[in-house]
Symmetry: C2
């Protein structure tokens, strides 16, 4: 009974990815054991090897599963209506939303990104796409006058850094500062603060050229 016929395998697969995202994110690749992951997923010890070939296979799958919908959201926001600046702010918002649903993703990504070693090709391709999308919004924004001139790639980084960093640090915020981002009200304040900061950082100065 319970989950019946055709998806008995797919369900385990999904559970393993969710458990992997959680534990890889919290403990790192080496810190999260297959035994802990399969236990969290309610699966057998052999399930990771069976479904993903190896621990690294699961890791890549977790990364891809987290990144791909994020990239899709970024593309959607970039293709929406409004000035380039407005669309960039929409990207910031999309990040916040995506990370709220998957709070372990930022750490997972940075763990991969900052390790010095090069991430799997899938990850690099996706990240490259996101960078290009935001960078061309910067170029477009200079043309339509909604964004101040600047280095496209660095702007993309700066914009992305805000939601990523805030999500990363949020568990510590409760301890280090009097802010608890698990409360909806505080989260809204943080989003508004970020949007205002990014907008101010990107917008042309009022008195400058037309």
């Amino acid at each position: 009974m319970s989950e019946s016929s055709a998806d008995s395998g797919a369900a385990t697969r999904t559970e393993l990815i969710a458990a992997g995202r959680k534990l890889f994110g919290r403990r790192g690749f080496d810190g999260a054991s297959i035994r802990a992951i399969t236990k969290e997923a309610g699966a057998n010890l052999g399930a990771v090897t069976y479904h993903f070939g190896s621990k690294h296979g699961l890791y890549s799958a977790v990364l891809e599963e987290g990144l791909r919908p994020m990239a899709a959201r970024v593309q959607a926001a970039a293709a929406s209506e409004g000035t380039a600046l407005e669309r960039m702010l929409r990207i910031v918002e999309a990040y916040f939303e995506h990370f709220q649903a998957r709070p372990d993703l930022p750490h997972l990504l940075l763990q991969e990104v900052a390790a010095g070693k090069q991430p799997p090709d899938v990850v690099v391709d996706i990240l490259r796409g996101i960078r290009e999308t935001i960078a061309s919004l910067q170029v477009e924004g200079e043309a339509d006058g909604s964004v101040r001139p600047g280095h496209p790639t660095l702007t993309a980084l700066t914009v992305v850094s805000q939601p990523v960093f805030l999500t990363l640090v949020s568990p510590l915020l409760r301890v280090v500062g009097p802010v608890d981002l698990s409360e909806p009200k505080a989260r809204r304040t943080a989003l508004e603060h970020t949007l205002a900061f990014v907008r101010a950082g990107l917008e042309p100065r009022e008195g400058s050229k037309s």
Copy 2:
């Protein structure tokens, strides 16, 4: 022979901390083995246990040794001359410099910070101090008119996020975008971009009150 008398122990201690910063930063706590660390430091397998009691002891020492001079730099910049905005920008610069000397520190910190578990008390205390320093600069900046009104703690985060994130991501930038932050010229460009962005994000709009 070689390093002679009184510091034969202190030298090993220092080497272990440097090796720990490098390997903990690159591979995470669990990914960096005592065997790898002692080998990197040119020390014996037992050296970590002898000098720091345990692997966790070394880890705490590494964190403290990296954070304490950073906090000192922040305090110094905050106590320097100029408007509150100028001092905040000086803090950004100080971060960049400190991270250039210790490129593994940001990852090490975030690893600790984002893991969900609470870092050692020493770390929390230092981070709290940094947050308070920047947050009170925000308050001061509102008073002297150099900074636009905003949430002090969130502003502190936003400001710090720039150098941290950029340093974190820099190894990936070579792959994902056409930027190589190991070149001094690119590093200068990145610093200037960041300073301009933070300044624009914090400064009051030109046409506003006062």
